[in-house]
């Protein structure tokens, strides 16, 4: 069609409007972003998507207002690793990324699109929260901000939901990360809090910095609300892309198998695992020997380090690994590690990622401090999640698995598809020293001669060790297989292939009443 003066006028108006929208907020806010090493929202999307050929909805939201391009949020549909995803991305150059009624409506609509299309939903958050002046239009109503969280909960486990936190996520907005499967936070810029430091000072008299209140490092190391701490926005986006590669588009599809890679060159498992059950070693070194080189994606690396949780590939097959870390707190399980394990199991189970448990666990922590913090209900949460998981579950007893630690790490009673022991494995209610003390303490104390006493204790230790000998447990069919450490990777690869078709029906009920 040839351009008439009339259509030229129309086009000019459109181009003008588009130019205003694409420019985002006032240049001074762009400058401010640059000073904070932050990228403009549209540059973030360029990095995130495979190409610039993505669709955008509600681009003209609040266009008549003049100073609110896209109403402070870009909602788009594009490709990441060749897979379609839906994205909402705050524009903090527009009223600090705050939410007006159209902002909220756009977010709700892109969520609905992700649900209808059954594709992952990404939240690129950088927002000061609600526009108080617009509260009646965006806060309490049926399609107000609460609906965003309602949708997140509804979509949880249906499609992957990922949060990249580039800036603040304040007050109610802090629930967006909380309802996501994973939260990636940029150190120095990202923050989450229900009440700002200023509000805390006014209301409760507490004087703290923003970092202390809700900084990225705090959330990734102390509160556990953050999962991955990165130093730049580029790194955050790269990590999100790497994470997404493990996941199918939705719960009904199984994860894709990629090309197999060899494990990293390093020491053998025999050399890594000390014979002394109580001596520490680095479980990461062992994991490196089991998974395809460079495939391990650590989740909550800096939080509750006594339990490692991460995604990886073994001969190209996706797997979720839970491994006790003897190097940190002896690998003892605490309330935080139990929470970490439970969330990770739920994540993998929702999206058909098989679970691999690497057990070297002295049990759950004891003492008044942990009892008062509710370690029983936290531990129960972990065990409930593991018990309910219907994906393939492979339990490997690397060294000790004592007490409820055995249960949490998918011990034989919890229907692992296979329970494999290394020759160093030791399964028991408690270790030999503690057991002999518990059973024979009166007798031991009654022996006056120190040499005799030592001899008696050593004999009892020996008897106990024979009682829990791993070959005895294999003979009793308690464990399914004893594997030489150098064969473990191959055995795991074989088992993952075998269980690919596992299909376990869920119990008939609405849902369990699980401990929280």
């Amino acid at each position: 069609m040839t351009k008439t003066s009339e259509t030229t006028g129309y086009n000019e108006r459109l181009e003008q409007k588009l130019a205003t929208i694409f420019a985002g907020g006032h240049p001074k806010y762009h400058e401010k972003m640059k000073e904070s090493n932050k990228l403009f929202v549209r540059d973030r999307l360029k990095l995130l998507f495979d190409d610039e050929n993505y669709a955008e909805d509600g681009r003209f939201a609040n266009v008549e207002a003049g100073d609110l391009p896209a109403d402070g949020v870009v909602t788009a549909i594009g490709k990441v690793n060749g897979q379609t995803v839906c994205v909402m991305a705050n524009d903090s150059t527009v009223k600090a990324g705050s939410w007006g009624s159209r902002t909220v409506e756009k977010i709700i609509r892109i969520q609905e699109t992700a649900e209808k299309m059954q594709v992952p939903m990404l939240y690129l958050v950088d927002s000061a929260g609600a526009r108080i002046t617009d509260q009646l239009d965006m806060f309490p109503n049926r399609r107000g901000a609460g609906r965003i969280f309602h949708n997140q909960v509804r979509m949880s486990g249906m499609v992957p939901q990922i949060c990249l936190l580039f800036g603040p996520s304040a007050a109610g907005g802090a629930y967006i990360p909380a309802f996501c499967d994973i939260v990636i936070m940029v150190e120095g810029n990202a923050s989450m809090y229900l009440g700002s430091p200023r509000m805390a000072e006014k209301v409760i008299g507490e004087k703290v910095t923003l970092e202390e209140m809700g900084g990225a490092r705090m959330h990734c190391t102390v509160s556990g609300v953050g999962d991955v701490l990165v130093s730049t926005e580029e790194e955050a986006i790269e990590e999100a892309r790497r994470y997404l590669a493990f996941f199918p588009a939705n719960f009904a599809i199984k994860p894709e198998k990629l090309e197999a890679k060899a494990a990293k060159a390093g020491r053998t498992l025999e050399a890594i695992i000390p014979e002394n059950q109580n001596a520490p070693f680095d479980m990461y070194e062992l994991i490196d020997q089991l998974v395809d080189e460079g495939s391990f994606f650590d989740i909550k690396k800096l939080f509750a380090g006594e339990l490692i949780t991460g995604l990886a590939r073994i001969d190209g097959q996706a797997v979720g690994i839970l491994a006790n870390q003897p190097k940190v707190k002896g690998g003892v399980l605490f309330g935080d590690s139990a929470d970490k394990g439970a969330k990770f199991i739920n994540l993998c189970d929702a999206f058909s990622i098989p679970l691999l448990f690497l057990a070297d666990v002295p049990g759950f922590m004891i003492g008044t401090k942990v009892e008062r913090a509710g370690i029983i209900r936290h531990g129960a949460k972990f065990i409930a999640a593991m018990s309910s998981a219907t994906v393939p579950k492979i339990s490997v007893i690397v060294r000790k698995a004592y007490g409820a630690g055995l249960y949490a790490m998918a011990g034989p009673a919890f229907e692992p598809d296979v329970c494999i022991a290394l020759p160093t494995a030791q399964i028991a209610v408690m270790g030999p020293e503690a057991a002999v003390n518990a059973v024979y303490s009166n007798k031991i104390e009654a022996i006056e001669d120190p040499k005799e006493r030592l001899k008696y204790v050593q004999e009892k230790h020996q008897e106990y060790k024979e009682e829990i000998d791993i070959y005895k447990l294999a003979s009793e069919l308690i464990i399914d297989e004893i594997v030489a450490p150098y064969q473990l990777r191959d055995v795991l690869s074989q088992r993952l292939s075998i269980y690919e078709t596992k299909d376990l029906p869920l119990p008939y009920r609405k849902h369990g009443v699980y401990p929280v």
Partner: protein, 71 residues
Amino acid sequence: MKELKASMAGTVLNVLVVEGEAVSAGQAVLTIESMKMEIPVEAEIGGTVEKIHVEVGGFVNEEETLMTLGE
């Protein structure tokens, strides 16, 4: 100055350095025994051991200061 603290309650099994000794970041400086496990405590920064606050065989609470390191 950096204070090394106990990650969990337990007994001091051994102290691997002496006051005045130079240590490097990541070096094991002390071991706590807790839940029958040996828990290594590593220097978070490189520096000099200024003060050792605990003795072998002594009980320590979680978050108790074990050692002070100077720059």
